[in-house]
């Protein structure tokens, strides 16, 4: 260097250097303050965030409770199977992915349709099954190609299975994938946490009513996951508690015999143990196979079930309201005794018709039944007797008595969707109709009420409850399907409804008169043919309900279109002196109750009381035995 630095410049440089040093210090202090803020003051917050990052709660869905009949026969259970599932949000082109999968795994058109339906109902980040119940070979084939299919997984899942297929389907109901409506129910019960991971929910029948018993308690696994969401290790595990098991009052074998007794006819049967209200059989035929619904029903199947003229999805035993026809008569007679309108020996001379004003109400038997007392009125099912009786009692008295018996109101059975039916009364009419002239009750309308026609409309379960109450001498139970619930955790059994709900204030002598007449029906009356040679004494009453009124025009049942034929009904209990079983049967468009319905009762009683299995089929006997039910 050729010249010396001016001292001034050196000083300026050192000053600038000091300023820079000061700046560095300030910046470092600033950084330290930031670290202090994050690591000391906000530490708890960030600690939680870090844990939230790494710890993922994975729900473990509990096994759904089993449903078994009173003898332990399994009616609903679970099995494990592999499903092929797609998470739509992780798959850019669903169609192409499914096509590619279809190259080595059978994916039918109905699988695609079902998947599409699920897709519409679910959120994009749910994992949805494209195929269920994969074979081991299919699983192996997929695993070999897995790398090509991000967002597609094989999962082992528990499936609900109804081993008997199309059997007692209206009792058991079915489960299906959770929908918005189900979610609302879950929220109402504050069960959201417990349903994390659950994909199915009871939709109908017992599966629906006892959903929260059957579901169980969801377990949780605390899993440490990495940034990509891959599980690294399990930190803690709370085991799930399986759902509670339901033991039914239902007798599966009895149910099977009853269902088969219907053949391919439509109808309903409800059999009740009078002393407990426990339902022994609850039939609504045709059935459907609840297994179809479990992993999302295929559109074709749904269409077929929904559009069938036989309406298999309707639970006739609970939802169908039918005129009781002549099965109403024993209750009318009991009402007459109870209210003192008739003495049993009081007889009428039956001309075969009853005139009220300018209208003639006919008996089915031309020329009438002759001299008819109460016993005979039930045994031969004399209409004229009941036209007069109804007229003498008046609608209010009838409605009051029948209402006490539970007719026209829900029985409270442990399945949802029960219909109320119609208990006709002036009050009901006023509520039901809008125009004033329709709202008025006409005395003439009371007449046909007496034979179970007119506005009368009751569900088979109501009729069964009424006959069971009669059989049980006026002690009434709420009909129920579940005998007890077994708590899987404690093994404790919780019994359902062991107590009667009320005792009707009937006189025992009145009850006995009616029972004796109903025994007479099966001995010498309209039920005699069906119960010929029975080794027990059964009490019953046949009934035939008009599908619509013929206005007194002569008609021949055999020549009519099937869907216009009368409904056949039958109520009964046995043994008459100590009833173990009471039932109500309805055969839609079956014609006469004596021909179509009573033989079903015979088969059911034979099995339940004697353990006798029916000899082949052919319950219907073409030759009409009796007229005028």
């Amino acid at each position: 260097m050729e010249f010396k630095l001016p001292q001034e410049d050196l000083e300026q440089f050192n000053r600038r250097l000091a300023i820079a040093g000061g700046f560095v210090l300030v910046c470092f202090v600033l950084l330290f303050a930031r670290f202090f803020w994050l690591q000391v003051i906000q530490h708890d917050y960030y600690k939680t965030r870090a844990d939230d990052n790494r710890i993922s709660l994975v729900p473990i869905v509990p096994n759904r409770g089993l449903i078994v009949d009173r003898h332990g026969v399994v009616l609903a259970r679970n099995y494990s199977a592999y499903t092929l599932e797609i998470t739509p949000s992780q798959v850019p082109d669903l169609e192409a992915t499914i096509d590619a999968l279809a190259e080595f795994i059978t994916i039918e058109a109905k699988d695609r349709k079902r998947f599409k339906k699920l897709l519409e109902e679910s959120k994009r980040f749910d994992s949805l099954p494209i195929r269920t119940r994969l074979s081991d070979e299919e699983v192996a084939r997929f695993i070999a190609r897995r790398y090509r299919f991000p967002g597609v997984e094989i999962k082992a899942r528990l499936f609900r299975q109804y081993p008997k297929g199309a059997f007692a389907s209206h009792v058991l109901g079915y489960i299906g994938r959770i929908t918005e409506r189900d979610l609302a129910k879950i929220e109402e019960r504050e069960q959201e946490a417990n349903y994390r991971g659950t994909e199915h929910f009871g939709k109908t029948g017992l599966e629906q009513h006892y959903e929260f018993e059957l579901h169980g308690t969801t377990g949780f696994e605390q899993v440490e996951v990495d940034a990509a969401g891959r599980p690294v290790r399990t930190l803690a595990r709370t085991a799930p508690i399986p759902g509670n098991n339901l033991t039914l009052t239902l007798d599966a074998k009895l149910q099977e015999i009853a269902e088969q007794a219907f053949g391919n006819r439509r109808g309903a049967l409800v059999a009740i143990e009078p002393a407990t209200g426990g339902i022994l059989a609850l039939v609504s035929v045709p059935n459907y196979d609840p297994n179809l619904f479990v992993d999302g029903i295929a559109l074709v199947d749904w269409k077929e079930l929904n559009e069938s003229p036989d309406k298999p999805m309707v639970n006739r035993a609970l939802n169908g309201a039918y005129p009781p026809g002549s099965t109403f008569k024993p209750f009318m007679a009991l009402a007459a005794l109870h209210t003192g309108k008739r003495r049993p020996e009081q007889a009428i001379a039956d001309p075969g018709f009853f005139v009220f004003g300018n209208h003639t109400f006919r008996d089915d038997k031309k020329g009438g039944h002759g001299l008819v007392d109460m016993y005979k009125s039930i045994v031969v099912s004399c209409d004229t007797y009941y036209y007069q009786l109804a007229n003498d009692m008046g609608i209010e008295a009838i409605a009051a008595f029948m209402g006490e018996l539970g007719l026209g109101s829900k029985t409270g059975i442990d399945i949802e969707g029960e219909a109320e039916g119609v208990l006709p009364s002036p009050a009901w009419k006023k509520k039901r109709f809008k125009r004033p002239e329709q709202q008025k009750w006409y005395a003439g309308e009371t007449i046909s009420i007496g034979i179970g026609q007119g506005y009368n409309a009751y569900t088979p379960i109501q009729l069964a409850q009424a006959v069971a109450t009669l059989a049980n001498d006026g002690v009434m139970f709420r009909p129920h399907l579940v005998q007890y619930i077994t708590d899987t955790k404690t093994g404790e059994r919780r019994y359902i409804e062991p107590q009667p709900i009320k005792k009707l204030p009937w006189k025992q002598e009145h009850i006995d008169i009616i029972k004796r007449a109903m025994v007479g029906v099966n001995k010498e009356g309209t039920g005699a043919r069906a119960f010929a040679g029975a080794e027990y004494v059964a009490a019953g009453k046949t009934g035939t309900a008009q599908v619509f009124s013929y206005k007194g025009v002569e008609h021949k049942t055999e020549t009519m279109a099937a869907h216009l034929r009368d409904h056949a009904l039958y109520i009964a209990f046995a043994p008459a002196d100590k009833p173990k079983i009471a039932l109500a049967i309805l055969v839609e468009n079956g014609g006469f109750g004596a021909q179509a319905a009573a033989p079903i009762a015979r088969q059911v009683f034979d099995y339940y009381l004697l353990g006798k299995l029916p000899q082949g089929a052919a319950p219907a006997d073409e030759a009409a035995t009796e007229s005028g039910e």
Binding site: F3, K47, A227
Partner: protein
């Protein structure tokens, strides 16, 4: 014999500077072993190369460095222009120049070439500085910075700009000019905003509200601040950082390695790191103040302040007080180029220190 060789080998080494650097490199190895043990071998190789470069540079006397200043600068400028014309595009930016046998990033070279050039320029103008000399210096600085920014590479542009600015500042840029520039910069900020690339704006917006896009662009900052914050005072322990080990921290062996260190060693570890940097910078500033020539003083001061800039920008970014720009944590982030550049700087400082008495004698 061996002893004599060793003596010769360590002769140009400044022990305090070597010590602080060594401790920082130790921190680097500890952090790297936790963040990315599979890269340890490669990083040790990089380190070896960097130390050799440092040792070689340490014995180049400042006058010779001075003679290299202009050619290196011009070469760097030409390469930058070449990049702008024929560069390879990688990750949306044109930064690389393919020479056939290797790919180079000329902007890296500028980090050293810039202070070297400006120090040389001010040495030439010593004693007769006028305002127009500062203008010319600004031009020397501005052209490469503009080219780098155009690539676009905001991180490197800032570092080069800072390096050049430090030289001009230390050379005595009048305060009124500095204040005027600051005022002008503030006024121009809204216009500059429009000149920024979309992704650069995104990063600045991110800083203001990282939670707005927690899985997208804000993810880096959120995860690194969670890592730092959850570390607490003493940290989670080496290899125990869940954010680091479970890969929630992005780029955890390069730009975000500080989050790994911070999570596992806590506030205490951060303090150690800050002190080490402060000591290194302090030593560098001392060397600058004792240097023999204006060139040496300016160069030493600027290099030292670049170390600071690297450290501050990186830690500020990772802890969420500065926008995300691609600046590594000096001596600690994985990567050969940065380590070699930094050790080259250390080598220059050592050379300046060893030669402080030569002229004054």
């Amino acid at each position: 014999m061996i002893r004599a060789l060793w003596q010769k080998l360590i002769a140009p080494i400044d022990l305090p500077l070597m010590g602080f650097t060594g401790l920082l490199l130790l921190v680097a190895l500890i952090a790297m072993a936790s963040a990315s043990p599979e890269r340890m071998a490669a990083q040790l190789m990089n380190l070896a190369v960097a130390l050799v470069v440092m040792r070689i540079v340490a014995q180049i006397p400042p006058p010779r460095l001075m003679r290299l200043a202009l050619p290196i600068y011009l070469a760097g400028l030409l390469l930058l222009i070449a990049v702008a014309l024929f560069g390879d595009i990688s990750k949306g930016a044109r930064r690389w120049l393919n020479l056939g046998f290797m790919r180079i990033q000329p902007s890296e070279l500028m980090k050293i070439a810039m202070p070297l050039m400006l120090a040389w320029y001010f040495q030439k103008r010593e004693g007769m500085l006028r305002l127009k000399d500062y203008l010319f210096a600004a031009l020397i600085l501005g052209v490469p910075v503009a080219l780098i920014m155009k690539q676009p590479d905001l991180g490197t542009a800032i570092l080069v700009l800072a390096a050049g600015f430090y030289v001009i500042f230390l050379a005595g840029l009048p305060w009124k000019v500095i204040l005027g520039l600051a005022a002008a910069a503030l006024a121009a900020a809204p216009f500059a905003w429009h000149l920024l690339h979309d992704y650069q704006r995104q990063r600045i917006l991110m800083l203001l509200d990282p939670e707005k896009d927690p899985l997208g662009k804000g993810f880096h900052i959120i995860q690194s601040t969670i890592a730092i914050g959850s570390g607490g005072i003493l940290g989670k322990g080496w290899g125990q950082g869940t954010q680091a080990q479970l890969e929630f921290i992005p780029e955890r062996h390069t730009d975000f390695i500080f989050a790994v260190w911070s999570e596992e060693f806590g506030l205490l570890g951060n303090l150690v790191l800050l002190i080490l940097y402060a000591l290194l910078i302090g030593r560098g500033l001392l060397i600058a103040s004792q240097a023999a020539t204006l060139f040496a003083r300016l160069l030493a001061g600027a290099i030292t302040l670049i170390f600071f800039t690297y450290a501050f920008v990186n830690m500020g970014m990772v802890s969420g007080i500065l926008p995300v720009v691609g600046v590594p944590l000096p001596f600690i982030s994985y990567g050969g180029t940065a380590l070699v550049t930094l050790c080259l700087g250390i080598g220059i400082l050592m050379s300046i220190h060893k030669n402080r008495m030569l002229v004054q004698k």
